[in-house]
């Protein structure tokens, strides 16, 4: 909580700025709409957080999201009764991709940057190979409900976000989170204390895969089938996590702050949009703000690229 304070403060300022321009934002419906929009990235960032805090990267989440949506559409093909089996299958796929990422990273000692870059290529190639180049089929209404519908006035995605956020915070307080954090901080010391460091990292990758699945379900539900859903999400998620003050390289930062970082990023987009800095220069502003925020918040962050000693697989 203490570590999340600076980013929460930034977030509050941004939200206030939004509300200033757009008073509708202060109404429950307006605010819920914002949370709903932010939910997929926040969940994805929470997943990415586990990987980053364990000292690794997951660049494959964007293409995993795309793949999951394309797979869902083709398998469901508009058939309502296929919804739940396919949802289950998607979760399995997400976990499996995480498992493969994790196993190759830990057991074959390939830097995760490369593993997940490879996975990005493989996923995007394979899914379109399978679907013939463009998405086919259609999502069912039942599937779409998670991203579109709601429980009364509260969108499902907001509820899912709350549940996912609570689960992530709980996980980081549990033994798993504490040992994962120690692993990211000093892998060798953790291993010599009996931590199953490989398993912990593999779980982290699987959590990231799971988060990508949930994100895919929410995004696919929100907007339907598209081949672009996941484009660039990996960089947004990593940026969000780092904005939350989580150190690349591992062992430091809180999951709440990472999620707040994602909200901040989303609020930033909204704000830029509201102020009419749409389109072109938006990226420039975004770039400047990200650098500034990280520079301001990260005076003590290590800036080297996974240079920890005893980290055998960082050497290729």
């Amino acid at each position: 909580m203490k570590r999340a304070l600076p980013i929460l403060a930034v977030l509050v300022v941004l939200l206030a700025a939004i509300a200033f321009v757009n008073p509708f934002f202060l109404e429950p419906a307006g605010f819920l709409a914002f949370v709903k929009r932010a939910a997929p990235l926040v969940i994805l960032a929470a997943g990415q957080y586990f990987v980053i805090v364990s000292g690794e990267f997951d660049l494959s989440v964007g293409s995993l999201v795309t793949a999951e949506v394309v797979i869902a559409a083709r398998l469901i093909d508009g058939d309502e009764s296929a919804t739940w089996p396919v949802l289950a299958l998607l979760i399995v796929i997400g976990l499996l991709v995480g498992l493969v990422n994790g196993v190759i990273t830990t057991k074959l000692r390939v830097p995760s940057f490369i593993v997940t870059l490879g996975m990005l290529l493989v996923l995007s190639g394979a899914v379109f190979l399978w679907s013939g180049g463009a998405p086919r089929g259609a999502l069912s209404e039942g599937f779409r409900a998670f991203g579109r519908g709601g429980l009364g006035p509260v969108p499902w995605s907001v509820l899912i976000l709350l549940a996912a956020g609570a689960a992530a915070i709980w996980l980081m307080r549990a033994d798993f989170g504490k040992t994962l954090m120690a692993t990211g901080d000093n892998e060798r010391a953790a291993a010599l204390s009996g931590v199953r460091v490989h398993r912990a990292k593999i779980y982290a990758f699987m959590l990231s895969g799971l988060a990508a699945t949930v994100t895919a379900i929410l995004l696919g539900g929100f907007a339907g089938v598209s081949a672009q859903v996941g484009q660039g999400l990996e960089f947004s998620a990593i940026t969000a996590v780092v904005l939350g003050g989580v150190a690349l390289g591992g062992g430091r930062g809180s999951v709440l702050a990472a999620m707040a970082g994602a909200c901040t990023l989303e609020a930033l987009f909204t704000l830029l949009n509201l102020y009419g800095i749409s389109g072109a220069l938006e990226f420039t502003v975004q770039g400047v703000i990200i650098i500034a925020a990280v520079a301001a918040g990260a005076v003590r962050l290590p800036r080297k690229f996974t240079p920890r000693k005893g980290d055998a697989h960082a050497a290729s």
Binding site: T179, A182, N186, A189, V195, K309
Partner: protein, 480 residues
Amino acid sequence: MLSMRGIGKSFLGVRVLSGIDLDVAAGEVHAVVGENGAGKSTLMKIICGVHAPDEGTIELDGRPVSFGHPLEAQRSGIAIIYQEFNLLPERTVAENVFLGREPVRRGLVDRAAMEQATARLLDELGEGSFGPRDAVKRLSVAQQQVVEIVKALSVNARLVVMDEPSAALAEHEVELLYRLIGRLRERGVAVLYISHRLREVFDLADRVTVLKDGSRVTTRPIAEVTSDELIRLMVGRDLGTYFPPRSPGAGETRLSLRGAGNHKLRDIDLELRAGEIVGIAGLQGSGRSELAKAIFGAEPFTEGEMTPSRPRSVREGVALGIGLVTEDRKAEGLALRQSVRDNALLVARAVGARGRDGVRDLLERVRLAPPRQDQEVRYLSGGNQQKVVLAKWMTMAPRVLLFDEPTRGVDVGAKAAIHDLMRELANDGMAIMMISSELPELIGMSDRVVVLRDGRIAGTLPAGPSEEAIMRLAAAEVVS
């Protein structure tokens, strides 16, 4: 030649040094001693331009200097052997020695000159076991320390700072170091020498400065202090007897090895019994650490028997009730950016064990001072860090605890506390194995000393052996 006045330094608002005055004359060996965290390394780093002092002045030959970067200190003729290892494993010896000061000819690096100069320095040191073109990653710890020394010498410095240069050296290598320092002194080079081994201080130094809690206690010619007095100045109290009394007798066998071996070890027969402290002696590279890691399951035995059973992994070792206090606590023992509490609970969490409420009591029991649980471990002094490592294992109430150099780089006060604790644990029925390169400690603490040589047991000596007896077994072929 070097004169410092009123040096002060704070890290993140914590005062580490205040009002330090220090003078070093040409051709003098000036020892700096003090407890862990007294500020010795910090002071040295200020001299070498790593840290800038918050206050105070430094004069070199009467001219005030202020170094913004190690490079500037280097250019003023100051060289340093850092406490931490400071080499690039992927590069060659010569490249490391001339790192940042590569000789150039017509704008290009002159490899030949670099390698010749390195070879000459290695020769001077009588080091023939490796050459300038060897990659540092293939050298042993002791050889790497020699490279560090060569690196400092190659600067042709007027002042050489040595921050615990002997910590990784075995006795005969320390001899080499002695001779080297003697030669530097003859050339009129000043040496600032830091060590926790008081014997070295008395052997080498002309004067000694004692630091305590970031302040200078005194500076005296070495002839005017005794060992006990020096300890009192450092710790602030008399330490009395060095070692706690031995326990009356050993209990049941907790662990036994029959013909155990792996890639480094051969035919190890060993028994560890409840209530007993077994000391392990040997030269650098004799396989002491390997033995501890093999018993623990980190680098398992591949042959022979071990009862109750042979662990194939760390977790199996932990499940057998074995704990290992590693020799390098920063690299292998602690997650430095996590809190004291999280580190103390690491083993318990890793194996999903209960009993986490007792952490506070445990931290008090290991005499962590002050026992703040939420502090990040990296801000603790070496001795306190070692106590956290101990607490980490005690949460599991292990049946066998292996200590690898438990007091390396630990000050005398913390050392005594750790010794007391080890004996206390043994008296409570734990079986303890202790590796140490410091023979007095090994002799004082052990109920039995097992000497390793080349991965085999060279012999076992009863309680209270002489140093000569140990060395004869450890270095048989050197003597013959």
